[in-house]
């Protein structure tokens, strides 16, 4: 089965979405990620969605949910690299991902995580 890889970088987990996100894939990611956060005792999750150019309300909600779940498990989530078109779509859908931190690219996202960890 297709899976989105979750990479470990120190105390943070890096999720790079490189394929078209479909509903089942998002649900699998949600499962995998929560398990990895617990198993690796991760303090932060960096989700790179720069290759994602189409979103619907379901995927938007999934991103929001994943962030909320990570927070419950005491790991910060930073969503990085959102495309302009995706941002506009999410806002028009009324999903402003309140509580999710964002950054322009992976580098800045990492800096943000390290800052909050310090």
């Amino acid at each position: 089965m297709e899976r989105i890889p979750i990479l470990r970088m120190g105390r943070f987990l890096l999720v790079t979405i490189q394929v078209d996100m479909h509903d089942q894939l998002a649900l699998t990611l949600q499962d995998d990620l929560t398990q990895r956060i617990v198993a690796d005792r991760a303090r932060g999750v960096l989700m790179d969605i720069s290759s994602l150019d189409v979103v619907d309300s379901f995927i938007g909600r999934m991103i929001s949910n994943i962030a909320a779940m990570s927070r419950v498990l005491d790991a910060q989530t930073v969503v990085v690299g959102m495309q302009p078109a995706v941002a506009i779509t999410l806002v028009e859908l009324g999903l402003d991902l309140a509580g999710v931190r964002t950054a322009l690219n992976v580098e800045r996202g990492m800096a943000l995580l390290q800052q909050s960890e310090a």
């Binding site: 969503v79 990085v80 690299g81 959102m82 495309q83 302009p84 995706v86 941002a87 506009i88 999410l90 806002v91 028009e92 402003d96 991902l97 964002t102 950054a103 322009l104 690219n105 800045r108 996202g109």
Partner: protein
Amino acid sequence: MNTATAALAETLRKHESEILADWLKEQAAVPSRRNAVHEAETRTLSRDFLNAVQEAINGGAADDIRGAAWSRARDLLSELSASRAVHGQSPSETAMFVFSLKQPLFTWLRRDLEADKLAEALWAATLVIDRLGLFTTEAFQKSREDVIQRQQRELLELSTPVVELWDGILALPLIGTLDSGRTQVVMESLLEKIVQSGSTIAIIDITGVPTVDTLVAQHLMKTVAAARLMGADCIISGIRPQIAQTIVHLGVDLSAVTTKASLADAFMLALRRLGSRIEAAPARV
């Protein structure tokens, strides 16, 4: 081809040069803002058009000016309408190009034809010229609309510049009323620029926005939310006292957004967030 159009075609053929000369005189008599430079151009155009009309009538399609036989005449008229519309002529001035052909054409038909045939031929000629005249007006209108649409587009682009104030700080001075269409353009150009320049702070300056109602406020909030999703913070500046009052009276909640009274204040805040500051150079002795 019926007898009336046949007679019309015959007269056009026999007296082509005379009709053309009379027609040009008619056109010159119409008061117009066009100057003498265009006279040669008008002469060429009139001659070509008369040829095209003859061709079409000989083609046997006097009734149907939308048909293939009239395509050359139509092209000429469209071209004429477009160029006159651009030069700011009125629709009646443009339509007079066709309608002024009536007088010379009728004069020559009267000379050529007997009374019984004349009425029919005049009727046929009137029909053709009226239709061509209407076509001209329509074409004129269409080219005017094209001009208006193009200007609207240009205005939209002109009025939404995104400027880079500092390394990592963008400014978006908004001027004029914000509607949904414009907000869309503003949002897109801001987000594109954020990606392109890698900026983390955007200052939206609304000094030039005359009124802020709930809709405009909502549009602003959307832009701020979209920029945040991409990882850039927004500061709204240039809020005039009356606008601050209106916002509060309308019950619009701007507490989620950083607001500053002036662009200068917003810029200072942005610099502070980036960890930079501006200080006076030591005085030279």
